[in-house]
């Protein structure tokens, strides 16, 4: 495929897929180790009432009101989950279950009881996103990457997810040491003066921001998959957290690129005529990588089981 086709049609979706996958996989490493991996799933449900409310308040289905509504809903959910977990003294999975079911139901209720149901809030769009439609019309080939006029026509989703990814990476870089200590041994971390409650909350809020930024471009399937699959596969490849992060970024990138290419061209190779959903295929590839890591990963034995003395 020549640059004249590839750059306008495929480069931007692939980059958005890669940045999304990395932005989700990075905090996913810590969520996984903290047994909070399902928080991505929870966030994907709770943003519905936020989006509906944002529409009711602003009357627009523009990107920014939707994003703001979703982000606020995600933060409210995170705070509620923490509050229920602490005040109710229940396990975090139970707290998540209560909050995301209740907020999702609230969103559906809002949607039905207001006239927003007339507005096209597309379920398929929410699940799959529209990665393939994020094309760069101003590009004519590789030379457009150096052309300021063409660059100005880049889809805004690309900048948004790139900035989000950088923000997520900066958070992890800055709080790497306390995050690592608090994730391994919360009691010791508190004894050393680390404010583990605030740190855990910040981590989940960062994950929520990554998730909301990703929904817009790629839908919720990919978000849930990217929070869990690349970090889980990476854990099976190494016994060091630093290396695990590196592996997870690699797997996330591989999933996004391979998933996009397979979705676009795979069916043609098998004589099909239509491409399949890129987001769905990216999630599938990440699942296949996890399956392979489970079978062949060098650190796949569960080593933390009580070993006796």
């Amino acid at each position: 495929m020549s640059g004249a086709d590839f750059v306008p049609l495929s480069l931007v979706p692939i980059l958005i897929g890669v940045f999304t996958a990395i932005a989700c996989a990075l905090p996913g490493n810590f969520l996984l180790l903290r047994r909070q991996a399902l928080i991505g799933d929870a966030i994907s449900h709770v943003v519905l009432p936020g989006i509906v409310l944002a529409f009711l308040v602003t009357g627009s289905t523009g990107t920014w009101p939707m994003m703001a509504g979703a982000a606020v809903a995600a933060v409210v959910a995170v705070v509620l989950i923490e509050a229920i977990r602490r005040l109710g003294r229940v396990e975090s999975g139970a707290a998540m279950g209560v909050v995301f079911t209740a907020m999702f139901a609230g969103g559906v209720l809002l949607l039905e009881r207001s006239d927003t149901s007339a507005v096209h809030l597309d379920v398929e769009h929410a699940l799959m996103g529209n990665l393939e439609s994020l094309i760069w019309l101003d590009a004519e080939g590789w030379s457009s990457l150096l052309d300021p006029v063409a660059l100005a026509g880049l889809p805004p989703e690309l900048t948004r997810i790139f900035v989000t990814m950088l923000g997520v990476a900066a958070f992890l870089w800055l709080f790497w040491r306390p995050l690592k200590i608090a994730t391994f041994d919360e009691g010791f971390a508190q004894g050393a003066g680390i404010r583990t409650g605030a740190l855990g909350m910040a981590l989940v809020i960062v994950a929520a921001i990554a998730a909301v930024a990703a929904f817009d471009a790629v839908g919720s399937i990919i978000v849930i998959a990217m929070f869990i699959c690349p970090p889980a596969a990476a854990r099976l490849m190494t016994d060091r957290l630093e290396a695990q992060i590196a592996w997870s970024v690699g797997f996330a990138t591989l999933s996004a690129v391979a998933g996009y290419v397979l979705a676009g061209y795979g069916p043609l190779w098998f004589g099909g005529v239509n491409a399949v959903s890129a987001a769905g295929m990216i999630a599938t590839v990440s699942g296949v990588i996890l399956a392979l890591a489970t079978i062949f990963g060098p650190c796949r034995s569960r080593t933390g089981a009580p070993s006796g003395t």
Partner: protein
């Protein structure tokens, strides 16, 4: 001033002195996880340079006492002073060894990574780990006899080895007060010996050691002071005068056979 007022005044002065000189002084500490308090209105004064065992039956609040002293659990009421001041100002002088079973040893880290966590207060958020830090961590591992395991994944260690790694991390904290939660729980004899040797060496160097301890048979051999607790404080003082059959009977209620207590108390003399 009447005699009574003088006596009260003197009492306050003694109390103030106790608080100022004690590495860890606890007053009226109450902690509750649910309806019932885990510890209730506990006073404790741990003496500088002492080696104290916290003793009591299961569920007596031994671990809770340590955690509340460190601010790991929030007390309902009470006050904790560390070296005469508030806890926050003295965190750098405290090393803490939580229960081994409180963490997931499947965590992706090597032995040396865990020991380096002990340097957190020194390194802060962004300072780089240098060769000097690494060699200090290796020294701490050598003190617990684990220098040959530095690059092993922590999940691949035995329980006793894991406990030694925890102690090495506390040594890396280079503190004046060492708080240990059941350091001898479920460890092999060699590890128990290695740990008590390290603790005695720390103590000989003037450090204060406070350990939650469950093996009554070794109390007199390992410690010079005891703190007996069963939700409320039962007693505190030197092993010879406080670790008595009567006090143990009070702390453990009917849960310890009288003959057992007599045997232990005899051993204490």
């Amino acid at each position: 001033m009447t005699h009574l007022e003088l006596a009260a005044d003197h009492g306050r002065m003694v109390e103030a002195e106790n608080l100022a000189s004690s590495p860890l002084a606890i007053r009226g500490l109450t902690v509750s996880y649910g309806e019932k308090p885990a510890i209730f209105s506990v006073d404790a004064t741990f003496e500088d340079g002492s080696m104290t065992a916290i003793i009591g039956p299961n569920g007596a609040g031994k671990s809770t006492l340590l955690k509340a002293a460190l601010g790991v659990v929030r007390p309902l009421s009470g006050r904790v002073t560390v070296y005469g001041g508030p806890l926050e100002g003295a965190r750098g002088r405290i090393a803490y060894v939580p229960q081994r079973a409180s963490v997931d040893w499947d965590f992706p880290a090597r032995v040396i990574d865990v020991v380096l966590m002990g340097l957190y207060r020194e390194l802060g958020l962004l300072a780089r780990v240098t060769g000097r830090h690494r060699s200090r961590a290796m020294d701490c591992l050598a003190r617990v006899g684990m220098e040959n395991f530095a690059h092993r994944q922590i999940g691949k260690l035995s329980g006793g080895q894991q406990q030694r790694v925890f102690l090495a991390r506390a040594l890396a904290q280079d503190a004046d007060l060492y708080l240990l939660d059941e350091p001898f729980a479920g460890v092999d004899a060699a590890t128990e010996k290695a740990i008590i040797d390290v603790l005695k060496a720390l103590n000989a160097g003037g450090k204060t050691v406070v350990a939650v301890h469950h093996d009554l048979a070794t109390v007199t051999e390992y410690f010079d002071r005891v703190f007996l607790i069963n939700v409320r404080k039962v007693g505190e003082g030197p092993v010879e005068s406080t670790f008595t059959g009567e006090a143990l009977q009070k702390a453990y209620g009917g849960r310890l056979a009288v003959t057992q207590i007599d045997g232990l108390a005899l051993g204490a003399v």
